[in-house]
Amino acid sequence: MLIKRAPMFKASEITDPTLYVTRRKFMLGAAALALWPSGAAGAAAAPSGGQALKATRNSAFSLNEAATKFESATTYNNFYEFGVNKEDPSRLAGTLRTRPWTVRVEGHVAKPKTYDIDELIRLVPLEERVYALRCVEGWSMVIPWIGFPLASLLKRVEPTGQAKFVEFTTLLDPEQFPGQRKSFLSFSSIDWPYVEGLRMDEAMHPLALLTVGMYGQILPNQNGAPVRVVVPWKYGFKSAKSIVRIRLVGEQPKTAWEKAAPNEYGFYSNVNPSVDHPRWSQATERRIGEFLRRKTPMFNGYADQVASLYTGMDLQKNY
């Protein structure tokens, strides 16, 4: 497959200066400035404390955009295993033990194997890629991930001809994931463990990243430690976190959100501004740290690389 250069955002998508100048004046005038102290600048990454992880920046696969503040990326998370609120994961993630950890790769493969996490991290040279992350809820971030192409792992186990889909399973352990506990007041919406899936060609796509770090350090627990996938042209929930099993299967897996709300979430879940979520529009998004909403580009800006995967498919139906 021809690897094209990752898309930089078009000039038209960058906020028009006249707009934000007007906005600044407006904000001052309305004394709304008081409500806007800290959030504004999409400052560079400022990692703190985590264990450093070396990786070479792959600029061909990186956005030319400032990363979301590290603090935002690690305190504003959807990770229902810890709870439904955005601050739950960072608050509660201490209970997750990421060592020892193994990832079983199995199914329709010639060489099934259980990888120790430390073996997995050293399997292939790590690269850093700055990707846009678009949440289905209408916000987005820019995150420097560290990992290697998922395809590198899949090729090692030698998928057979029967392998049509890849299924990812997140750790099931209510001891470590309070959100998985059954309690009187929380009737959980998700049938644990969390299961996600990709079509084989999606999983083999060079953009699909098996991820073990971000912002120059090992993945914080609340971001899906010790290993997750990142599939940047799909809504964030497609990128399964804290993976313990990768299974190559013949049938399309039934994903956690498809089971929880079939009318709201489909298998593909490609970022698509023209297919609304039943309850809200997907036409725009708020980049965390920015004031104005911006237009959501098709496939989250990765159309040049991935549109060909869906040629001839009705994306309104296969949402």
């Binding site: 906005r23 309305a30 709304a32 008081a34 409500l35 806007w36 102290p37 800290s38 959030g39 979301t68 503040k69 603090e71 935002s72 990326a73 305190t75 504003y76 229902y80 439904v84 955005k86 601050e87 809820e137 916000w139 007041l185 929380s186 009737f187 959980s188 919406s189 998700i190 929880a260 709300a261 609304d276 309850r279 809200w280 529009s281 036409a283 725009t284 708020r286 965390i288 740290g289 004031f291 104005l292 909403r293």
Partner: protein, 212 residues
């Protein structure tokens, strides 16, 4: 209730009702508005709108159930605060969230049923806020005024739908609010039936001897 007690009570309500705004300012100062401040502020204001609306709707049931009359004197104040929070909630949505992008907002109002009902809930509160003064009560006449102000029940139901329809899976507070609203409206219905039955019995008691 003495005048002094009433002043203390109302001052207390003012303070409680202003606290959520003070907290917003405090969190702004300490940088605790989360990574997505606009969403956080919108939710915070919306939640307090609903809480104050439920508080204002709880005053009459307190009289019905426990015979207390003082809560009813707080009804208007709570209702007006609920209206103020609703206006702030809505303004944040227009000004900060969508920055006057009318096309996007109108499309949303028409297309998203949770926004449609939310807008309707706020709209229905406007005539109630306008006619909340004592002068307006006199001008409309007590019976008309009461009839008009029953619109708040519709607002309550629309507000509950607004929250039920927008809340994401896994949350439970939307059900808690809806349950409280159901209770508060249920008590009124129960009381209305009880009074109707009593009235009929009285009428029967009056008319029976005449028949005999």
């Amino acid at each position: 209730m003495t005048r002094k007690a009433r002043v203390i009570l109302k001052t207390g309500v003012w303070i409680v009702c202003l606290l959520p705004l003070l907290f917003l300012l405090y969190w702004t100062y300490t940088g605790n508005l989360t990574a997505n401040p606009i969403s956080f502020i919108t939710n915070h204001l919306g939640q307090w709108t609903f809480r104050l609306l439920l508080a204002s709707l709880a005053m009459t049931p307190l009289r019905i159930l426990f015979g207390m009359s003082w809560p009813v004197t707080l009804r208007r104040l709570l209702g007006l605060f609920a209206f103020s929070y609703a206006c702030l909630h809505f303004s944040v949505w227009i000004v900060v969230d969508h920055f006057f992008n009318w096309n996007l907002m109108i499309a949303d109002i028409l297309k998203r049923r949770y926004i449609t009902v939310g807008m309707s809930a706020l709209t229905l509160l406007i005539p109630l806020a306008v006619t909340s003064t004592s002068g307006m009560v006199k001008r409309l006449g007590g019976a008309n005024w009461r009839r008009l102000h029953r619109l708040v029940y519709v607002t309550g139901v629309l507000a509950a739908l607004h929250f039920l329809w927008l809340a994401k899976k896994g949350r439970i507070d939307q059900y808690i609010y809806a349950t409280i609203l159901t209770l508060l409206l249920g008590i009124r219905i129960w009381d209305a039936i009880r009074r109707a039955v009593r009235k009929r019995r009285q009428r029967e008691a009056v008319t029976k001897p005449a028949l005999a």
